[in-house]
Amino acid sequence: MAEVRNKCLTIKEFEAVRQGVLNQWPTGKGLALQEAFSYQKKIPKQKRFAERIEEAMVKGEVLTQPRAGVALIDQQILLLKHLEAEGGADLLSATIDSYTRQNRYHEAQKGIEESINAGRSMLNGLPVVNYGVASCRRLTEALNRPLQVRHGTPDARLLAEISLAAGFTAFEGGGISYNIPYAKNVPLEATIYYWQYVDRLAGLYEENGLSVNREPFGPLTGTLVPPCLSNAVAIIEALLAAEQGVKSITVGYGQGGNLIQDVAALRSLKQLVLEYMERYNYKVKITTVFHQWMGGFPPDEAKAFGVIAWGAVAAAFANATKVIVKTPHEAFGIPTKEANADGLKATRQVLNMLQGQRITELQALEEETTIITAETKSLLDGVERLGEGDWALGTVRAFAAGVLDLPFAPSKLNRGKVMPIRDQEGAVRFLKHGNLPFTQEIIDFHRTKVSERAKAEKRPVSLQMVIDDIYAIGKGMLVGKPS
């Protein structure tokens, strides 16, 4: 495979592969961009994702957004109408099923048919590609709020073509965040290139006066991800998207559980991404997303609401532009529409109560922000060095060298030498930092934090401690302390 470069695709390069992309499944055939642009021009402003989220940033609102996807499109319409009306969701999602995410459209088709026969959804999301543009327009037209595609698709080119033509105005994902946590063995050169295509497509819409919001997937593996790692990936993906002409980017972070660290992480992310955008003179509107806890949930619904509410608190104090909301059914998988609305309502209650409240001038917060920023810069400097100034090339080489290394990722391209652990106060630290290019000062900081916990628990640091941390929230605690 040819090496990728962080360079805006020319229209010739884009057109050269486009027919091949559209021919991957019959619903893509003949899709005309000019017709898609004319259709998108008719979408009212209040239903455009970028406009709504950028308005929220200016006004200081925190918007709520659920995840939501079922196999049958009429059921999807009912689901989203319920989340709009009963859940009060400010922004809406169509979550894509896992067969579509791996481009297995035959299996997705079977899933649709089995769902019709069984009278319930047998897929974990909406197979947008199989439905095609006309059916999906029926969905986007039935709703009153902006609608985003949320998924986990290494090659989402056809999905992006169909969903944007169908009137979706936001598209989640990126060449790193939808590869390393979502694939077993797909080269990064390939996914970065696939996502350059998606970003260029979004750029073409922008050039036709149609905003398309893009969102790198912040939480990555969703399991004890140290903030500097997810922030570094978000910043790289924002840079790659901006190069292709994307103008509206929402960078994200998944809740860790320690309030100070969570607030510091999102602050640091926002500051740094703006710094890097300015450095390259990209004119992009940056907003932020906070994901409520992405790891294991308590099966007890009342306890799950506790976790959800704590995520709402952190989102409010982190001053996120939007929060992705969990549901009381999280421990069991896909929620009912009622449970989904309940998560939204619980979150909205907390957000409203915290409106206008701020944490300022707190020394611990300043310190945590400083350390996350220093760590993130170390990682980004490492990537930049390896790429000889090119972020795409640098990313490929950084994963190979373990200069970027995500905990608990399924991909074989990931070195897997990094092991996170919670400290005494539940902040996520490094037990092993592998080959991450940290200064001795940073390494010592983590070592001290981890040994403080071991001392307090009177047990040696071990993998068991990490496993206890992974299960802790599901069992009712933040830190996996011995019972």
């Binding site: 896992s98 047998m122 974990n124 399991t223 929620p335 993998l463 496993i467 992974i470």
Partner: protein, 152 residues
Amino acid sequence: MKGSTLVLGVIGMDVHAVGNKILEYAFNHAGFNVINLGVMVSQEEFISAAVETAAEAIIVSSLYGHGQLDCRGLRSKCIEAGIGNILLYVGGNLVVGKTSFPEVERTFKNMGFDRVYPPGASPEQAIIDLRNDLWLREEDIHGRSKEQMPNH
């Protein structure tokens, strides 16, 4: 039974990697020989790994809700491959949405699974069950009585 070979993996298009890594650690720690195929494993890959390694059990995880579609026919494929008697365990979020577990268990047992685990089941429970099930099989071979079954 100590040192018995297990084939472990997450079936279908599922990429949930965390529990898989923890199960590998726990089964290894308990003394089993673990062949971990990781995430996104097809039925064929499970079976060929089990045949190649003369495994005594296949442990299937599914966290994303497509378990019923992905697991159908696994037992009959095992029979075709000449390993019809292999232990088949399955666990995770096996169906889409919150469903009563006895119903899920019945569905998967009818599909030929020996043991079915609900969301959040601990690796320890599977280890105890494996020891018992494998011990019972040894007993079948050696003609020992069930009263001698070890306590755990």
